[in-house]
Amino acid sequence: MGVDLALIWAIIIAFGVMMYVIMDGFDLGIGILFPLADDDHDRDVMMNTVAPVWDGNETWLVLGGAGLLAAFPLAYAVILSAFYLPLILMLIGLVFRGVAFEFRFKATEEGRHWWDKAFTGGSIAAAFFQGVTLGAFIQGVPVSNGQYAGGPYDWITPFSMFTGVGLVIAYALLGCTWLIMKSEHALQTRMRELGVYLAWALFVVIVLLSGWTPLALPAIAERWFSLPNIFWFLPVPVLVVLAMFGLLRSLGSGAHVAPFLLTLALIFLSYSGLGISLWPNIIPPDISVWAAAGPDQSLGFALVGTLFIVPFILMYTAWAYWIFRGKVRRGDGYH
C-alpha cells in the first residue's frame, strides 16, 4: 500500500486526545474552581462561559474512544479493561458534572447547591481519574494472548495517584486562565491571584514528574538520555521554563488572553514530552501501534471520512466559539 495507516491513525488519536485535554480541560477546571466563587452570580458567570461549548469539548473524548476502537481494537480492548474501575469512576464523574449544566438552572433555589457540588465533585473525579489512568498507563500494561494479564487494582500506585493530582492542578490552571479571559472585575482579579499559585503548583508537578518518570521507568530513561533522542528532547524543558516565566509575567501584567495561551503551551509541551516517552508503543511497555492496528480495510475506511470531515468540524466548532466570544457578564441574559 505504501501508506502507513497505523501511523496516521496514531497521529489522529493523539490529536483527538490533545484536543480533549485542552478543551475539556478548561471546562473541567471551571468545575474544580467552582467552590471558590464568591456567590451564585459568579458561579452563573463561570458556568455560562462554557455552557454553550462543553458538549462539543467532551465529544473529543468520544472520538478518542471510537478512533481507538476503529483503528486499534486490541489496544481499546486491553486498555479499557485494564483500567476498568478508574474509567468507570471517571465516567460517573462526567455524568454528574454534565447534567449539572442543565439541572443547576432547573433546580429550586434550595436544591441548587446540590448541583453546584455535583459539578465540582464530578469535575474533580473526572480529572483525577483521567490522571490516574494516564499514570498507570505510562507505567505499563501487562498483556498475554491479546488480553489484559494484570490484576483489577494494579492501577493504584503512588505514581498514578500523583499524576491524578497533577492533572487536577493542570485543569484547574486551564480553567483559571480561561476565566481570566472570559470574566471581569472581582472574579477576574481573584483568578489572577489564584493563577499564580496554580502555575507554581503545576510547575512543581512537571519538575517532579520529569524526575520521577525516568527513575521509576528505566526504559523511558534510556529513551530520554540516549543519543540522538536527547537533542530532540532538550528543547522541551527549556521551553517549559520559558512558558512558565511568561505565564507568571502575564498573570501580573493585567493581560486577558495571554495567561490562557501560555497555559495551553505548558500543557502542549508536557503532552509532547509524554508522546516522546511512549512512541511508538500504544500499549506500554512493548506493544507498538503496528502490532495493535486493526485490518487496513477498517483503518482506510475510517480514515477517508476523518480526513474529509474533521476540517468541517474544526470550522463549525470555531464558529460556535466565535458567536459566544467576549466577556460573560453578571446577569447576562443569554444563558
Binding site: P52, T59, A66, S81, L85, Y148, I313, Y334
Partner: protein, 478 residues
C-alpha cells in the same frame, strides 16, 4: 471463560445502562425534528404560538439532550471496559461505524447545540433555524450509524474471519445489512411516535387543568395528527421487520411466539397469552387462536415457521421474557392506533379539546411510546441471545474477565447514580412540562437573577439592541 455470575452481572449492567440511555435519544430525535418544524412554522407564518411552543419544548429538549450525552458517553466506553473480547473480535467493524457516528453526528449536534439553546439573539433567526436543523439532522445521522452497527451484529455480512477476528471486506454490505433498513425505520418512527405521545400527554394535562390557549391546543392537535399517521405506519413497518427477522433469526420469532413444536397439518397457532417454560419446553396456560400465526407470519393458513424445539437448547433465546416483552410492545402499539383514530373522529364535532375521557386517555398514554421502545429492544436483544454477533460470537465469549466483586460494585454504583441523576432530570422535565408554554416568552426581559436567566432568547424582530455580539468588545489580547 468467566463464570456465570460475572457474565450475568455484565449483561445486567449493559442492559441497565443502555435502557436508561435509549430513552433520551428517542426523545431528542423526536423533539429536535419537532423543534425544527415549530421554528420553520414560526418563520413561515410568523404566528407567535409556534415560537412560544419552540421556547417551551427547547427547555425540555435541553434536559433530555444533556442526559443523553452523559449516558451515551458511558456506552461508548462500556464496549471496551465490559465487552473487551467483543471489541477485539468485531471492533474492526463496529469501531469505524462508531467513529463515523462521532464525526458526522455527535460533533454536528454539539457544534450547533450552543447556538440552538442560547444563540437566537446572537446569530439571528436564519442562522438559528439552520442550527436547529443541523441538530435535528445530527440526531437522525446518529441513529443511522448506530443502527447500522447494531443491525450488523444481528445480521452480519460483508466480512471474513481472519486470525480469529472479523475483517470487513465490503463496507456497503456491512452497512446495508439485511435487517438495517427495517430496524432504522422502525426505531426512527418509534422515536417520532413516542415524542408525539409525550407532547400530546403534556397538552392533555394542561387542558384537563382547565388551561387552554392557542399554543396548548396547537401542540395537542399536532401531536394527535402525528400519532394517527405514525402509529398505523409503525404497525406496518413492524410487520415487515418481523418477517425480516423470521428470515434471518427464526429462533427469535419462535421464542416471541412461544411456539415449541409444529404439529403436521395444523399450521401455526397464534398464542395470545401463556407462560413459556424453558426447562419444561412448553408454554403453560396458553390461550391460542388456531392458524392465525401462520396467517400473520407466512400470509397463508398452512405455512409453518421453525419452532423452538427445532433449535438446540443452547441456541434458544429466553422465550419467557421475549414472549411478554413482545406482547407489551404490540399491545401498547394497538392502544396508540386507537388513540390516533379516536382523536381523528373527535375532530369532526370539534370535541378534540373537550372530551375529558379522551384527554385522560391521551394523558395516560404519555409514557407508552417509551415503554414500547424498551419492550421492543428487550425483545430484539434478548431474542438474539445466546449470540452477541449472530452466529459468530456467543455473548459468554465476548465479556471482559472481571471478577464478580468489581462488576457488582460498578453495577451498584450505576444503579444508584442513574436513579439519582436521571430521576432528578425526569422530575425537572416534568416540572417544566407542568408549567406549560407561556405566551411571548421570548420577549420577556432577562431578569438576571442567579440561575434564573436560563434560555432568554429574544427574536430579532422584538429586540432592537440585537445582535448582542455587536455590543461586546473584547478587551484585547495580552
Amino acid at each position: 471463560m468467566p463464570d456465570f455470575d460475572a457474565l450475568l452481572l455484565a449483561r445486567i449492567q449493559f442492559g441497565f445502562t443502555i435502557s436508561f440511555h435509549i430513552i433520551f435519544p428517542a426523545l431528542t430525535i423526536g423533539l429536535a425534528s419537532y423543534l425544527a418544524v415549530l421554528e420553520g412554522g414560526w418563520l413561515y407564518t410568523r404566528r407567535q404560538v409556534y415560537l412560544d411552543l419552540y421556547h417551551f419544548w427547547l427547555k425540555i429538549f435541553a434536559v433530555a439532550f444533556g442526559m443523553g450525552v452523559v449516558s451515551g458517553l458511558v456506552m461508548a466506553y462500556q464496549f471496551g471496559t465490559n465487552w473487551s473480547e467483543f471489541s477485539r473480535f468485531a471492533g474492526s467493524v463496529t469501531g469505524p461505524l462508531l467513529a463515523y457516528e462521532v464525526l458526522t453526528a455527535f460533533f454536528l449536534e454539539a457544534g450547533f447545540l450552543g447556538a440552538m439553546l442560547f444563540g437566537l439573539n446572537r446569530v439571528g433567526p436564519g442562522l438559528h433555524f439552520m442550527s436547529t436543523i443541523a441538530v435535528a439532522v445530527g440526531t437522525l445521522i446518529s441513529s443511522t450509524w448506530i443502527l447500522a452497527s447494531n443491525s450488523w451484529m444481528h445480521t452480519p455480512q460483508g466480512y471474513e474471519i481472519i486470525n480469529g477476528a472479523v475483517v470487513p471486506v465490503n463496507w456497503l454490505q456491512v452497512i446495508f445489512n439485511p435487517s438495517f433498513p427495517y430496524r432504522l425505520t422502525h426505531m426512527v418512527t418509534a422515536a417520532f411516535l413516542s415524542t408525539a405521545l409525550v407532547v400530546g400527554s403534556a397538552a392533555a394535562w394542561q387542558l384537563l387543568q382547565g388551561r387552554s390557549n392557542a399554543a396548548i391546543r396547537t401542540m395537542f392537535s399536532m401531536a394527535m395528527w402525528m400519532i394517527v399517521c405514525t402509529a398505523p405506519l409503525q404497525l406496518f413497518i413492524g410487520d415487515l421487520h418481523g418477517l425480516n427477522t423470521l428470515k434471518h433469526q427464526p429462533a427469535k420469532i419462535a421464542a416471541m411466539e412461544g411456539n415449541w413444536e409444529n404439529k403436521p397439518g395444523e399450521g401455526v397457532p397464534l398464542i395470545l397469552f401463556g407462560i413459556p417454560d424453558m426447562a419444561a419446553e412448553t408454554t403453560r396456560y396458553k390461550l391460542e387462536v388456531p392458524r392465525l400465526g401462520s396467517l400473520i407470519l407466512t400470509h397463508s393458513l398452512h405455512g409453518t415457521i421453525p419452532a423452538l424445539k427445532d433449535f438446540a437448547p443452547e441456541d434458544r433465546p429466553n422465550a419467557t421474557i421475549v414472549f411478554w416483552t413482545f406482547r407489551v410492545m404490540v399491545g401498547l402499539g394497538m392502544l396508540m392506533i386507537l388513540l390516533g383514530v379516536v382523536g381523528l373522529w373527535l375532530r369532526r364535532g370539534r370535541r378534540l379539546y373537550e372530551s375529558r375521557a379522551f384527554l385522560r386517555f391521551a394523558l395516560a398514554m404519555g409514557p407508552a411510546g417509551l415503554v414500547a421502545i424498551l419492550a421492543g429492544w428487550f425483545t430484539t436483544e434478548i431474542g438474539r441471545q445466546p449470540w452477541v454477533v449472530y452466529g459468530l460470537m456467543r455473548t459468554r465469549d465476548a465479556v471482559s474477565a472481571h471478577g464478580v466483586g468489581q462488576l457488582g460494585f460498578t453495577l451498584a454504583l450505576f444503579v444508584v447514580v442513574y436513579l439519582v441523576v436521571f430521576g432528578a432530570g425526569t422530575i425537572y422535565a416534568l416540572r417544566l412540562i407542568a408549567v406549560g408554554p407561556r405566551t411571548n416568552e421570548g420577549d420577556e426581559p432577562p431578569d438576571g437573577g442567579p440561575g434564573q436567566s436560563h434560555h432568554q432568547m429574544r427574536p430579532l424582530s422584538a429586540a432592537p439592541d440585537a445582535p448582542a455580539g455587536a455590543g461586546r468588545t473584547n478587551p484585547g489580547v495580552g
